[in-house]
């Protein structure tokens, strides 16, 4: 290879390689601080700060949802695959995709008793898509009323 080209090639390799190394080191240093939310296991382990605004994510546990009859107040538990769970209190309108068994991310304060007073609830969707008929056939599962808005 021509010496000038070789020099420029090496410069490009150093540029991309050097920046990649820098970024990799930064990302390792930041470690889990780039997580969008804490898992119930992390909260149980005391990693989440108390009384500060945090996000927590997990699956809404089956039969854990309790709705108040006279207000928009709801409470439910979110859990992870390791069996940790945390109780969430929320007052407001839940997203359409919110239901038991669905992944959610809640924003709120962690109380000293280990509950979360949520100010926002977001539904987390997974990357799996299915026609409604197939989903019903697979698990005899019919989406509950919150998704009936799509049928109108």
């Amino acid at each position: 290879m021509h010496p000038n080209r070789r020099k420029r090639l090496l410069m490009v390799i150093f540029l991309v390689g050097g920046l990649s190394t820098t970024l990799a080191l930064v990302l390792v240093a930041l470690n889990r601080n780039l997580d969008f939310f804490y898992s119930p296991a992390a909260i149980a382990a005391g990693q989440a700060p108390v009384s500060k605004r945090i996000r927590a994510g997990g699956m809404v546990l089956q039969d854990s949802l309790v709705k108040a009859s006279d207000s928009l107040r709801v409470e439910f538990s979110i859990g992870d695959l390791q069996g940790f769970e945390v109780r969430v209190f929320f007052e407001g309108i839940l997203p359409d995709l919110f239901r038991e068994g669905q992944g959610v991310v809640v924003t709120g304060r962690l109380t000293t008793e280990g509950f979360i007073e949520a100010s926002q609830v977001l539904a987390k969707h997974d990357e799996n898509y299915m026609p409604r008929e197939l989903a019903e056939a697979l698990e005899g599962y019919h989406p509950p009323t919150s998704s009936q808005a799509y049928d109108r």
Binding site: L27, L34, K124, P143
Partner: protein, 246 residues
């Protein structure tokens, strides 16, 4: 093979040969996009959880794939220009950047429109979305450099910036695996079994291919215009435009 590849590095050769591809490429692109979009919007069944709003993936996912692939194209073309001084490579880097920026903006826009009914919010600062937002700004930076610097140095600066920003691409790609994000894992992959049944998957495959062809077509057209402008004082151009010289 090397000889053949080398001949495409000549602007004149590139202009004349690429002209023969345009008609066929347009037809194939239109075919893929028409069939893909129609089957995605009308033939594919609605999702069991999201209902009809899931259909935005037939635009969002191809646009997202392209915004990253176009960026890689800009960076690689920039590297070829930096190292080997192939003129056509700089033309390609210049022509591809605005197209990629549009795909990136489309990705963020369709993602926001989908996020509102699905997640309950237009925008969150999670790792996937933030790194894609950064990609948009890299594109804008490249465009600003191209516009702002004199032609003699802008190619070099753009290439260096594009190569530096290349580290963002794996961050976008693996953000959903490295961290907990609100954004779900990858929907489209050539190497893994599809995460959806065939009647939902094949329209997506068609639009992903269609978007790649659309990029190729837009790139060729933009490159041809750029070549004519750069070579306007050359004989072959004045012969091509019928003796007119500016």
């Amino acid at each position: 093979m090397w000889q053949w590849l080398h001949s495409w590095g000549s602007p004149r050769w590139f202009y004349l040969r690429s002209g023969r591809l345009l008609f066929g490429l347009s037809l194939v692109t239109a075919g893929f996009l028409a069939v893909g979009v129609f089957s995605g919007l009308f033939l594919a069944p609605a999702d069991y959880q999201q209902g009809e709003s899931f259909r935005i993936i037939y635009i969002h996912v191809p646009a997202a794939v392209l915004s990253q692939n176009v960026y890689i194209t800009v960076a690689l073309a920039g590297a070829v220009w930096l190292i080997w001084r192939v003129k056509v490579a700089d033309v390609a880097a210049k022509a591809a950047a605005p197209i990629g920026m549009l795909f990136c903006a489309l990705t963020l826009l369709t993602g926001a429109v989908w996020g509102k009914p699905t997640w309950g919010t237009w925008w969150v600062w999670d790792a996937r979305i933030t790194s894609t937002f950064l990609l948009l700004f890299l594109y804008l930076g490249i465009l600003a450099l191209r516009q702002g610097l004199p032609e003699s140095t802008s190619g070099r600066s753009c290439a260096v910036l594009a190569l530096a920003g290349l580290v963002n691409i794996p961050v976008i790609k693996y953000s959903v695996e490295w961290w907990f994000t609100l954004h779900q894992g990858k929907t489209f992959s050539l190497t893994q079994a599809p995460s959806m049944p065939a009647e939902m998957y094949w329209p997506l495959l068609l639009t992903v291919i269609g978007f790649h062809l659309l990029f190729l077509l837009a790139l060729l057209l933009a490159m041809r215009a750029e070549i004519l402008e750069r070579e306007q004082t050359r004989d072959w151009v004045s012969r091509l435009v019928g003796g007119y010289s500016p």
